[in-house]
Amino acid sequence: MTKTEEKHKKFLNLNLRTKTLLIIGIAFLILFSVFVSNYLIDHTAVLTSNFYNINQPPSFEHWFGTDWMGRDMFMRTLLGLGISIGVGAFASIISTIIAILLGVFSSVNTIVDEAVTAVIDLFGSIPHILLIILVSLAFGGGYYGVVMAVGLTHWTPLARVLRAEIKKINTSEYIKLSTEFGKSKMWIAKKHIFPLIISQIIVGVILMFPHAIMHEASISFLGFGLPAHEPAIGIILSESMKYLSMGYWWLAFYPGLALLFLVLLFDLIGENVHKLLDPQSAQE
């Protein structure tokens, strides 16, 4: 066996845990660099129009081509992805807080539990996009409106999972036995319940990101989200619609692909973190 072959074999022989960690690390690094690049790019220089090179196809100088105002699409896409990550982060935090509050609240008694379930079902029964548009408009639109709209609508799946999980743990026999040993409710919540739901929360937050990002892009695309001067992916895509018929395919192709890539990365991280935190589920 040659040396390179040996090396190759060794890489594939990594155990699952190391491989999972490696995947998470690489994916996180990419996301982090996209986010940081936003602060390193000179916004005004990049977004200033340059009519000498409008509508150029992808080249080594302009990886993703240029648009009808001569702006470099690669830079615009990077900035757009940065905005998406920002919206996703804020919205996920808001959603998670709501989900945790409702999940914990539902374990108080049956009446509260019924009320929480009703609220979850109510939010779940309204068409998502419609609700996001309405909330976004109610908060005055813009970045703030989009964050609030996405944040206030994405908590339902996590709240439902947490409610069920807490309920399951609370009725388990080891909790009953814990009270037999004279442990207080606080002790049980801290030692038994919290460590068991924390992994659900972490995974829930990461898997909320792709949804939040996709919804941000879709309402920006529809014109209810971020203002038109922001380089958001949704805006880029909706602008490119006018130029697609002229054959400027790169205006939509690369930013769309980049968005898809971003979403897939988050999904990948979420799934792998889930595997790490809850190893039994990986064998299902």
């Binding site: 080891y174 037999e180 040993f181 004279g182 442990k183 038994h192 068991l196």
Partner: protein
């Protein structure tokens, strides 16, 4: 001497009455075997005695006092040890939730120190049951209700576990109520056999 008493206990699931006017008494030097057919309410009685079921009629007392809050002097050992352990806890934490026995008792039960670092899913049923029994043998325990604790074990392990349990129980003056539908086991282990049908109406 500690006395556990169940007076006029009645309980049913919905309209289906299972226990009618049950009276039972034992002290902490006894090992009593309770025999009953399948579905006669043995497990229900265990849950009532240990406070897992609270909406029953009648009274369960230890030395004339009802249990409310704090460590329950009547402890239940289950048929399925894996259900009463947090699957994400190491065995050391599981045991310490109740107490940490000294070396002598650990040896008596044949518990190895290296098991402490494992999770419940990494031990066998017999090994888990030893931990489960040991947890119930906290010095504050006065009575132990053993609900079919050895049915899933092979004969050799059954003998080992029962011998260890009875040795420690007698040393610490813990009363043992052994619930089973295995008459031979009851005859072998207990001082006295009680039929569930005799103590209820």
């Amino acid at each position: 001497m500690d006395v556990m008493k169940a007076e006029k206990v009645s309980f049913g699931y919905g309209s289906h009455k299972i226990l009618q006017n049950l009276n039972f008494e034992m002290n902490n030097n006894q090992v009593i075997g309770l025999f009953g057919d399948s579905g006669s309410g043995k497990s229900t009685l265990c849950k009532i005695l240990t406070g897992f079921i609270t909406d029953y009629e009648g009274e369960v007392t230890v030395n004339g006092q009802k249990h409310n809050g704090g460590y329950n002097p009547i402890q239940l050992i289950y048929q399925h040890p894996e259900k009463v352990m947090n699957p994400r806890w190491k065995m050391k934490d599981v045991l310490e939730e109740s107490w940490m026995p000294d070396e002598k008792i650990l040896n008596e039960f044949g518990i190895k120190k290296e098991w402490f670092k494992r999770y419940p899913s990494e031990l066998s049923g017999g090994e888990l049951q030893r931990f489960s029994i040991l947890r119930a043998l906290n010095p504050k325990t006065k009575f132990i209700i053993a609900d079919e604790i050895s049915t899933m074990l092979d004969a050799v392990t059954q003998v080992q576990i029962w011998e260890s349990l009875l040795t420690v129980a007698r040393e610490n003056n813990v009363g043992v109520l052994l619930v089973s539908h295995d008459k031979r086991l009851i005859n072998r282990i207990s001082d006295e056999m009680v039929y569930l049908s005799d103590i209820t109406d």
